[in-house]
Subunit: 205 residues, 2 copies
DNA sequence: GCTTAAACCGACCCGCCAGTCGGTCTGCTT
DNA sequence: AAGCAGACCGACTGGCGGGTCGGTTTAAGC
């Protein structure tokens, strides 16, 4: 079973390095040779493990991107506290470079989403499904917040989830080049204002 | 001067059709032949008017995209009323397909922004400058709103502008494929909640 | 009408890059 | 030790698309 280990090892190295470079330069702007050169692997090795560049990226999505989004944006929602501060923290964390988040400025979901839109319907679908999972989890935690009296009763949880996702994706666009540290701070501040407007009024404490 | 007219006419046809197709399929996913075929023009004609594909797109930005953003997002801000409803209206209008807005779902600023990011710094700069103009105008109208007593005094106008832009760009990402009419409605609703939270409290009627 | 320069034509060039394929190396099996 | 399969190599192919260039058409100026 030594062979099997080698296979996993090589595939994993390819996926990890691929994600790293695709994030930096974009999928269509990165040639396989760019990646293979860095890993000192050949075309033959690549096509031995993956049947196409597309297949390769789908592997990357399912093995790496999905996990990352879960870890950063979905799992933190699994508590029974007031959901609004929890959501706020998860977004702040997801926009933070370094730390749990090796890649600069969290995951380039928005970048990939727009890059593949109109270009590759299958990959688009995989990426949209990830967003969908996030959305569903947001909605569910918001609804629980409503029951628990943290969120005003007249609030449309689906609308709130959509709005949070939109603002996060847009923020990622604005941060993409920018070294402007203030942007993230401004975003979090305004999100707090917004959250205050949908919180239940009968705040105790 | 008949020649001069012909030149303008051809260049304009090229730019208009180019923008149309670039929006549908993306810049890098559209070949010049795709555009030239539709207009029944030749490579020779194209390179007689533009020195490169890049030069061509810069023309499109400066002649068409800038005007559109001004018309939809900047000029509406030039009133002396309460800025918040004005901004809300402009965003709603800008997300509306058809009408003043021939292209589906407003301008694909976010799409182009992410497409050119890391690919072409010069074009990225042109696009970011457009956003900057919008931002500056938003900030200025928000500050006036503060003076006029429509917006609470402790509010950070730059932060609000950033947040509005981020949510709009993100919304455009979510709407990109989607025929989901509800998304836009949800967005506008939540924006209203947010605006309420930054409005001055001493509302008179 | 003749000249001249513009607008325009389209075959061609060339670099890039996903994907192929015949071959070599490595280490497990018997 | 032989045989075999899976991991890996790298030169090659083929299509796509931006850009070129010598030539043709059109219309303004005289």
């Amino acid at each position: 079973m030594e062979k099997n280990l080698k296979k996993r090892e090589t595939m994993h190295r390819l996926c990890a390095k691929g994600l790293e470079i695709f994030q930096q330069k974009g999928y269509y702007n990165t040639s396989l040779d760019d990646i293979l050169k860095e890993l000192e692997l050949s075309k033959g090795a690549f096509y031995h493990h993956f049947k196409s560049k597309e297949d390769y990226f789908i592997n990357i999505i399912q093995n790496l991107i999905v996990q990352k989004v879960y870890a950063l944006l979905v799992e933190p929602l699994n508590t029974y506290e007031n959901p609004l501060p929890i959501i706020l923290d998860s977004l702040e964390e997801a926009l933070e470079p370094g730390k749990r988040n090796e890649m600069a400025y969290g995951f380039m979901l928005n970048d990939f989403l727009t890059e593949f839109n109109k270009r590759n319907a299958q990959i688009s679908k995989y990426l949209k499904d990830i967003l969908k999972v996030w959305e569903v989890n947001l909605v569910s935690v918001l609804k629980r917040g409503k029951i628990d009296g943290h969120i005003a009763r007249h609030i449309d949880c689906e609308g709130v989830a959509t709005y949070i996702i939109a603002s996060y994706l847009g923020m990622r666009s604005l941060l993409m080049d920018n070294t402007n540290k203030q942007l993230k701070y401004q975003y979090i501040q305004q999100l707090k204002h917004y959250f205050r407007s949908i919180a239940a009024q009968n705040v105790m404490a």
